[in-house]
């Protein structure tokens, strides 16, 4: 009994097959093996080496494979065959319904419109986050105005070196102009791994708790800013302080705002999923929020560069205003006015 079936698909083999289900298999085996080879090549990223005929045949072969699997399940008891067809179908399915974009293609579409669309999609959350930040800043200013002791409660110790209530105008101005923190490089590095980047990322991550901690975090952080503003305002340095802050702060505060809004977007989907299931709402909002957060990371890197280099190099308040608000205008135009047609 050594009747080996060596020539799959051949007339001889089909005729020699004993069972109907084996004849079914041998008649189609060549197609499966062809599809298998194509899928293997595509998985290895060699799509371009496939012949045009193969690419044209792919959808047909895939449909045929699906029907073969359905038939085999109902008519064949060859477990090895069914296992093969199942896993081949799954592989083919992953290829046919796989990602369409490459990394480079994604970068193009992301910066060429997808980011702006995502930011516009969370417009409501941006308004809420902005309100929280404005309330925080006003609150901080008013609290310190009412009782300067509040300053020490609001501002972390590392910032309140000389910048405390009652400091002289000269000391305060000294922190705004001239080199203070060493080289741009160390400032940049410290920036990226420190406070404000953490605030932005925390604001997003805490959105999972229905967004409440995000709002509190935004209020608290801008309250610090408001308290600081009061100190400088009390010595008539408001304009200079805002200029010093604006050069990188417009980018940075916008990044924190967007991160907070992205967190709120997720929290809102969790709290009020509407007619969707919680999981569906979460993944839908999560994808939008993740796009925004990718933009936030780019913005934080920009803010780090501006703080590390531009703030040291540019000492004139007018130029600081021009740079800070020029960049802000660019960001806003990119996010809200840039509406390329979907391709």
């Amino acid at each position: 009994m050594n009747g080996q079936v060596t020539n799959p698909g051949g007339e001889q083999a089909v005729a020699a097959a004993v069972l109907r289900s084996d004849r079914f298999r041998l008649e189609r085996e060549a197609d499966w093996v062809r599809l298998d080879g194509m899928i293997t090549a595509m998985e290895k990223g060699r799509l371009k080496r496939l012949a045009d005929d193969d690419v044209m045949a792919l959808p047909v072969l895939y449909r045929n494979l699906l029907s073969s699997l359905s038939i085999a399940r109902e008519s064949s008891l060859d477990a090895g065959l069914i296992a093969y067809l199942e896993s081949l179908t799954l592989r083919a399915y992953f290829i046919v319904y796989g990602t369409r974009t490459t990394f480079g293609g994604w970068c193009r579409s992301f910066f060429g419109g997808a980011l702006s669309r995502s930011v516009r999609a969370i417009g409501f959350d941006i308004v809420v986050a902005l309100a929280a930040m404005v309330i925080g800043a006003v609150l901080g200013f008013m609290l310190v105005d009412a009782d300067p002791q509040w300053f020490y409660r609001l501002v972390p110790a590392q910032f309140s070196d000389v910048r405390v209530p009652g400091a002289s105008r000269e000391a305060l101005a000294g922190t705004l102009f001239g080199k203070q923190d060493g080289e741009g490089l160390s400032v940049f590095a410290a920036y990226l791994f420190n406070n404000n980047a953490q605030v932005a990322i925390l604001a997003f991550a805490l959105g999972f708790a229905f967004g409440v901690p995000t709002v509190l975090l935004l209020i608290y952080n801008t309250a610090t800013l408001g308290a600081m503003l009061w100190v400088f305002a009390s010595r008539g340095l408001t304009v200079e302080f805002v200029g010093w802050l604006s050069i990188h702060g417009t980018t940075e505060l916008l990044a924190i705002l967007l991160a907070g809004a992205a967190g709120l977007h997720i929290g809102r989907a969790l709290g009020f999923p509407g007619k969707r299931s919680h999981l569906a709402a979460l993944s839908q909002s999560g994808r939008t929020a993740a796009q925004v957060m990718t933009g936030v990371i780019v913005m934080l890197i920009c803010a780090g560069l501006l703080e590390g280099f531009a703030r040291q190099l540019v000492q004139a308040t007018e130029v600081r205003y021009a740079i800070g608000y020029g960049i802000l205008a660019l960001w806003l135009a990119y996010f809200f006015a840039f509406r390329p047609r979907r391709s």
């Binding site: 009994m1 080996q4 079936v5 005729a15 020699a16 004993v18 069972l19 109907r20 084996d22 298999r25 041998l26 093996v33 298998d36 595509m42 990223g45 799509l47 699906l66 109902e74 008519s75 008891l77 060859d78 477990a79 065959l81 296992a83 093969y84 199942e86 896993s87 081949l88 179908t89 799954l90 592989r91 399915y93 992953f94 319904y97 796989g98 990602t99 974009t101 490459t102 990394f103 994604w106 741009g184 940049f188 990226l192 791994f193 420190n194 990322i201 997003f204 991550a205 999972f208 997720i266 999981l279 979460l282 993944s283 999560g286 994808r287 929020a289 993740a290 796009q291 957060m293 890197i301």
Partner: protein, 311 residues
């Protein structure tokens, strides 16, 4: 009520991790969620690969710098070096994300670590795996793991890491690490947000046709070249087994281990009351397999399934 035996690939997979995925064409496919052990293994391989890549890159840079200085070329200005270091820091920050994005956006939707343990990312709803989903799940990986570790390290280096911050960082990472164990689909927070899951990557090899005996009846006319079969089984001899036993027998025939075949042949003979075919087990089992399958498949065509010998 006739019930189909579970055929094939799903043998040997934790039944708790088996899922059904329905393709847009309406065909149900069995998928298996990747177990936590595979996930953590893939993560460590990826971390090692990333570390190796960064180390290789830094060594290349150091080598280039050494070659530059030993070649006696004019020294570069501090400003330019600073600029390069800034680029390097940004690159380091983005390299991690780029690694995961690049590989998970590829056709195999798996990083090197995932490929090594045979798992891949897929969309949970059976639809297309989108770039947004891959971004989302990898962005969350940063928040779950890399960033807290990075802040803790930089805080530790600068000496500003308080005990409270260190503990909260550790707890933070710990919560996210055990999160996949707390839900049935082994979803990381990133998977939850992105609408993805990680499943076993299917592998396929097609075995040869097993049936070599002669089916009773029609087959003799189809294949006149085959020698007449020595083993013929009656209906009562074939009706003792169902699909499950058939597929066990198929496995025995595919592996073709002489000891196993001898045991199985003896068992079948005892069951149907024949004397053991000593020295000729292969032919006996081939014939029995073919005729049993012919019988069961005929039943199948008439809508009668028999899952195993007890049904």
């Amino acid at each position: 009520m006739a019930r189909a035996a579970q055929p094939g690939r799903s043998h040997g997979i934790d039944p708790k991790l088996k899922r059904t995925l329905v393709t847009p064409e309406g065909v149900a496919l069995a998928v298996a969620v990747a177990p936590a052990s595979a996930r953590i293994g893939a993560l460590f391989i990826d971390l090692a690969a990333l570390f190796g890549l960064v180390l290789g890159f830094v060594l290349t840079l150091a080598l280039l710098a050494w070659a530059y200085s030993s070649a006696g070329l004019p020294a570069v200005s501090d400003g330019f070096v600073n600029f390069l270091v800034v680029l390097f820091i940004i690159g380091l920050l983005l390299a991690r994300n780029a690694y995961f994005l690049f590989f998970e956006l590829g056709q195999r939707a798996a990083t090197w670590g995932k490929r090594a343990v045979g798992i891949r990312v897929a969309s949970r709803d059976g639809g297309r795996l989108t770039a947004e989903a891959v971004i989302a799940r990898n962005l969350l990986r940063d928040i779950e793991m890399f960033l807290p570790l990075m802040f803790m390290t930089s805080g530790g280096v600068q000496g500003s890491l308080s005990e409270f911050a260190a503990w909260s960082g550790i707890i933070w990472v710990g919560i996210f690490l055990v999160f996949p164990l707390l839900n049935k689909d082994r979803l990381r927070c990133g998977d939850l947000i992105a609408g993805t899951w990680v499943v076993e990557a299917p592998r396929s090899t097609l075995g040869a046709v097993v049936t070599k005996g002669v089916a009773p009846g029609a087959a003799a006319a189809d294949a006149p070249s085959l020698p007449p079969d020595r083993y013929r089984f009656g209906d009562d001899e074939l009706s003792v087994y169902g699909e499950y036993e058939l597929q066990m027998l198929e496995q025995v025939l595919r592996t073709a281990n002489p000891d196993a075949m001898e045991t199985v042949a003896a068992t079948i003979c005892a069951k149907i009351g024949r004397s053991a075919p000593s020295g000729d087990e292969r032919a006996f089992l081939d014939a029995y397999y073919t005729q049993l399958r012919a019988r069961l498949e005929r039943g199948l065509r008439f809508g009668k399934r028999r899952a195993d010998k007890n049904s």
